[in-house]
Symmetry: C2
Subunit: 218 residues, 2 copies
DNA sequence: GTCAATATTTTTGTATACAAGATGGATATT
DNA sequence: AATATCCATCTTGTATACAAAAATATTGAC
């Protein structure tokens, strides 16, 4: 599936940026990375360019690429956009969703519940991902679906941080149920409002998390 | 401002794809392009990669890159997303917009009107761009602003097609005025609904244009 | 004559070599 | 001593060379 070396390197670098191995503002030296991955500069450069397009690094011409960790405000902004995009998906899905997809959502939610009960974090994430992916798909708008997947993927590492908040999982599940109910009833506005809140609260919780942990981020 | 040769090449290729010099599905040969731009394959490859990220071409590993003109359905989808994004901007702007920005919007609209009266197509586009750019900015969400600018830019060549529809410009201006009025009144829902319709209608008109011109596009 | 297997050629992906701009420090001048 | 200038070095951007894979042509078997 992965074909070009530069693709795999891009993924690796992405992970390294996400898990904080590269701190914000750090310059990524091409020859260093080339040695690290045992390749020439060419695939490194291709990978870096991809990351630049994704917004993970900033490429200053003739100067180098610098990792660009989103600050607190940008994160909140991204969560806000994610919330709105998912709300659009929900509103569209309310009229376009198929019965099969509704069944799928319910089944996914059930598995998600079981994962919560079993304290299976990975399982929870997998099913949660699936829930949202189905919602995107059922918007009936392939372009919207892709954009949602893109942003969702970008926010994923930050989403992981906040699961530790007590009681969040249970409430999250309840919100999922409410969304399914609204979709079933064809109530687009309720579905949109519910999912918007469901996602937006993550941004807010994140805000809280950050300000409680770090002294003054940005 | 333009720094790397590959950047300028990417822009050139983008234009060539937009204006239809490269038809859909056509393979872009690296050496051919290299000769055409009198450079080596390296900057060509970098440019092509950027285009692939933007979705303008599809890159099939070890096989080449192929231009990927959006089909009719994808265009409608993109306009739908644009409409929703702008609606979000409007709703947020209704509470966040500054008085200065309101004045700016009004002035821009006025210049836009004048351009319409003078049959100054370029002027109209410039001011129309500005109107939407201000709206994005006044959402108060920098990330949303960037995403809107990205999609707006991508849709620009297709938007240009439909100005020839009789009476569209006048109605468009009226919609702009309505948006400003709603923003002034702080009525986010009305502003959102108005701008959503304003943008969505472009996708629909485009649909009409296509089906009337081409026999059966996709 | 058709199909298949192999060889040739073409094209992409990667490595290396080269060019030009940027960084940093040393030296000279005020 | 402070600052400006020039030089050395380093890093990026581009060109070329090489390797591997795919496309195409050729040849052989049936």
């Amino acid at each position: 599936m992965e074909r070009k070396r530069s693709d795999r390197i891009a993924d690796s670098l992405e992970s390294l940026i996400f898990d904080g191995t590269f701190s914000d503002g750090e310059r990524l030296d091409e020859v260093q990375l080339a040695k690290r991955f045992s390749v020439s500069r060419t695939p490194i450069r291709e990978a870096l360019q991809r990351l630049a397009m994704s917004g993970l690094v900033e490429q200053i011409p003739r100067r180098g690429v610098f990792v660009r960790q989103p600050g607190l405000v940008e994160l909140v902004e991204m969560f806000e956009v994610m919330a709105e995009l998912e709300a659009v998906c929900a509103r569209l899905a309310a009229v376009r969703i198929t019965d099969d997809a509704l069944d799928d959502l319910r089944a996914t939610n059930q598995r998600c519940q079981q994962a919560v009960a079993a304290q299976d974090a990975d399982g929870y994430y997998r099913e949660n991902e699936r829930f949202h992916a189905i919602l995107y798909r059922q918007s009936g708008n392939g372009f919207l679906e892709q954009e949602c997947l893109r942003l969702h993927r970008r926010l994923q590492p930050f989403r992981r941080l906040q699961l530790r908040l007590r009681g969040r999982l249970k409430q999250s599940m309840a919100e999922h149920e409410a969304v399914v109910a609204a979709l079933e009833a064809g109530d687009g506005d309720t579905a949109a409002a519910t999912i918007r809140q469901h996602v937006a609260v993550q941004g807010e919780k994140f805000h809280y998390l950050m300000s409680s942990l770090k002294p003054a981020a940005e």
